[in-house]
């Protein structure tokens, strides 16, 4: 019971936070939907663990808990990959900026 309540509260807080971020436009609609679905799914599975067993059967995985674990891992790997790619892009953009500044403000002898 304790863990159910705890996770539900966390999920609720995260969802409230996500709505705020969507309003401030720091979240795009796609990210918002993915993020919200993830936490709603988590909240549902905590209260009705049998759902994970149904999902597990559909995916031909033995136990519900295993299904949750596998799906979480896939999601985490995907997010990690995307973050790394984003970070790389950001690095390259920063370099372009540094380059433009360096060329625009060429040093002169004093």
């Amino acid at each position: 019971m304790v863990i159910q309540l705890l996770i539900s509260i966390v999920a609720l807080l995260v969802i409230i936070n996500a709505v705020a971020k969507l309003r401030q436009k720091t979240f795009t609609l796609t990210v918002f939907i993915i993020w919200i679905s993830l936490w709603i799914a988590m909240g549902v599975v905590v209260w009705y663990p049998n759902i994970s067993t149904i999902v597990a059967h559909v995916l031909h995985i033995g136990r519900g808990a295993d299904a949750v674990l596998y799906i979480s891992l896939i999601v985490i790997f995907y997010l990690l990959f995307r973050t790394t790619a984003r970070l790389e892009k950001l690095h390259q953009d920063v370099t372009k900026l540094a380059r433009a500044i360096a060329i625009a403000s060429k040093k002169e002898k004093q």
């Binding site: 540094a98 360096a102 060329i103 403000s105 060429k106 040093k107």
Partner: protein
């Protein structure tokens, strides 16, 4: 070194559209001398100070170079690209990559640019292994041989030395070669670009001096033999992402 910074009158006129790009990070001890020595052969030198913590920019200016300074440290690859962009803007026909740490010999620049000037190649790459003069420490030699194998597998280029920073290229090559890897993986990246754009390349024998000072400078920049493994990882990772 007490020579004047004035340009040597014996510099051939055709060298006036040659630009030497020197990336520099915390090289205040050697950069002025490097610039002055290079200018004995090539008048146009641009030093890209990669946000050094010392007086690299001032020293390079005193040496008589054009000086660009990154507002934040972006790595040697990024600094090279900045210098190349600037040189291209200034109308460079030939661009030379050179280091400020005293490992390379300025008197070899005319040899480097010869195949490019004669139109035999789009890019000339310095090689330490076409001559016996370089005194390369054994561990470094082993790592470099590994780099050769790595390059042959990844980009299919047949080279004797894949991580030599001494290069000369024409404008066409300079415009084609994109360096997106900011740190030291750019050496592999340049080779990839050569393969991708089917640039005509040639190796030119160069001597590299591994003085204690040069090695210490390299270490200060975080460049040591074990980094080679890290670089290989980055190259593969970069390929996965692109």
């Amino acid at each position: 070194m007490n020579e004047t910074t004035s340009i040597n009158p014996s510099v051939p006129a055709m060298y006036t559209s040659v630009w030497v790009v020197i990336p520099a990070y915390n090289e205040q001890r050697g950069v002025r001398e490097a610039v002055q020595q290079v200018q004995r052969y090539i008048p146009n030198v641009v030093v890209v100070d990669d946000c050094s913590k010392d007086h690299t920019s001032d020293e390079a200016l005193k040496g008589g170079a054009h000086v660009l300074r990154h507002p934040i440290n972006r790595g040697q690859g990024a600094a090279l690209r900045t210098g190349m962009d600037y040189a291209l803007q200034q109308g460079a026909d030939i661009i030379v990559h050179f280091d400020a740490d005293g490992q390379m010999q300025p008197e070899q620049i005319p040899h480097m640019i010869q195949p490019v000037i004669r139109g035999e190649a789009d890019i000339a790459l310095g090689s330490r292994f076409l001559t016996q003069k370089s005194n390369i420490p054994p561990l470094r030699q082993m790592i470099l041989k590994g780099g050769i194998l790595f390059t042959r597998i990844i980009s299919g280029l047949d080279l004797t030395d894949t991580h030599n920073g001494f290069r000369a290229m024409n404008r066409y090559a300079a415009e084609k070669i994109h360096i997106v890897q900011d740190r030291y993986s750019h050496a592999s990246e340049i080779l990839d670009e050569i393969a991708k754009h089917k640039l005509r390349y040639v190796e030119v024998p160069v001597t590299v001096t591994y003085s204690d000072e040069a090695m210490a400078a390299a270490r200060a920049r975080g460049q040591n033999s074990f980094n080679a493994i890290k670089i290989a990882g980055r190259v593969i990772w970069g390929k996965l992402l692109s």
